[in-house]
Amino acid sequence: MASLKDLRNRINSVRSTRKITSAMKMVAAAKLRRAQEKAEAARPYAQRMQRMLGALSESVAGRPGVPKLLAGTGKDETYLVVLCTADRGLCGAFNSNLAREAKRRIDALIAEGKTVKVLCVGRKGRDQLKRTHAHLILDASLEIGRDFDYDTARKVADIITEMFDDGEFDVCQLVYARFRSAIKQIVTTMQLVPFSSAEEHAPGEEAPEEEGEAAGGVKPSTGGSYEFEPAEEQILADLLPRNMAVQVFRALLENNAGEQGARMSAMDGATRNADEMIDDLTLTYNRTRQAVITRELNEIVSAAESMR
C-alpha cells in the first residue's frame, strides 16, 4: 500500500493539473466567444461575394474564355488537398478527426490512380500526416500562428492560385471543420477549384442545417441583367482569387471556433476527471491515515498490556 506521503504527493499533483485544465477551459471559453463573433462578422462578405459570383458565372456560362479557376482544366489527374487544422493540440479529437478524413480522402484518390499533393495549414495536421504521407506534403505548408487575419488566408490562397497557374494540379479540395457547437464540429470538404459551392461531408456525419445563409437579410439578386465594368472575364479574373481567399478565410475562422470549442469540452472533461481522481485519492488517503492511527493505538495498547 502506498505510504501517506506518496498519496499526499499524488493528490497535490492532480490538484495542480486540475488547476491548469480548468484555466485552459476558461481561456478556451473566452476565445471561443471571440472566435464565434469573428466568424459571424465575416459572413456578410462571403455571402455577398457568393451572390456576385453567381451573377457573373451565370452571365459567362457557356462562353469560351471562361477562367480556368471557374471551369477547371478539363482534367482531374492531380489533386491538391488542403488540410486546415489547428496549430496546437490538447483539444480532444479535433485535429485527429481532420487528419483522419484527409487520410481517407488521399488514400481513396491514390487508389483511383490520381496524383495527390497535400498542403497543410496548421501545424498539427502536418505532424499527423507526416507519419504516413510525408512524401506528399508540400514544402509550402504553413502554420497559422497565434493571431490570424484575412492576410493569412490570402497568403494561402496566393499559394494555391500560383500552383494552379503553374499547372501543378487540376482539382483542389479544402478539408476543414465546420463549427456547429462547442461540442460538435463537422469535418467538411469543400471544392475550391474548379469552383463549386457544394460541400461534401465525411461519412457518418449528418449534413449541417442551413444556417440561413441564403436568407440572412440578403435579397436574392433582382434577376435583372447586370452591366459589367470592365468585362465579365476581367472581373472574374480578379474576383476568383479573392473568392478563394474568402473561402479559406471562412474555413480558418470556422476551424478556429471549432478548435476552441473542442478544447473547451476536452478540458472540461479533464477537469471533471481530475475532480473524481482527487476524491478517490482523498478517500484512500483518509482510510490509510485512519489505518495507521489504529495500528499505532493497537501497538501502544498491546505494549502497555505486555508491561503489566
Binding site: K38, R48, A55, F228
Partner: protein, 137 residues
C-alpha cells in the same frame, strides 16, 4: 427596401460589415472611372481601383469618406454593395504613416528580385499614392 429616393448602401470588408444604411448617393471609384450611384441606378457590377468611396447622406457632398485598396461594387436599383479590401476612414488616416508606407514600397521596388515582387511593390505604391491623393482632396 430603401426609402423613397434613397439607396441602401453596404460597405463590407472581409472581416465585417462596416456600414449598412440608406443614403442619398454613393461615389464609387470604379476601375474605368468614378461613378455616383443614386436610387434606381441600372444594375452594375464593377471592380474598384484604389480610391475613395464617398457616402452622401443628404445632398451631393460626401459626409463620410472611406479609402479602399480595391474590391468590387454591386449595384441594383435599390442597393449598392461595396466589397472592399482594407477599408479605412479617410479622416483617421495619417499622412506621415502613408508617406512612410510609400517610401517602404519604393525601397521594396528597388530591391525586388523578380517580376512577382516587383508587381507586389508596384501595387503597394499605387495604393499609397492613391491614399495621398485622398488625403489631399
Amino acid at each position: 427596401m430603401a426609402e423613397e429616393g434613397k439607396i441602401g448602401f453596404e460597405l463590407v470588408s472581409p472581416e465585417q460589415l462596416l456600414m449598412s444604411e440608406d443614403v442619398e448617393m454613393v461615389l464609387v471609384p470604379g476601375v474605368e472611372g468614378d461613378f455616383g450611384v443614386l436610387a434606381r441606378h441600372a444594375p452594375l457590377i464593377s471592380s474598384l481601383r484604389p480610391g475613395v468611396v464617398g457616402i452622401c447622406r443628404k445632398g451631393r457632398q460626401p459626409e463620410e469618406r472611406y479609402f479602399v485598396a480595391g474590391g468590387f461594387a454591386e449595384v441594383t436599383g435599390e442597393r449598392c454593395t461595396v466589397l472592399a479590401e482594407y477599408p479605412i476612414e479617410v479622416s483617421t488616416m495619417d499622412r506621415g504613416e502613408v508617406e512612410q508606407e510609400l517610401k517602404n514600397a519604393r525601397e521594396d521596388l528597388a530591391d525586388a528580385k523578380d517580376d512577382k515582387e516587383r508587381g507586389a511593390a508596384e501595387r503597394r505604391i499605387a495604393v499609397s499614392e492613391a491614399k495621398l491623393r485622398a488625403l489631399a482632396a
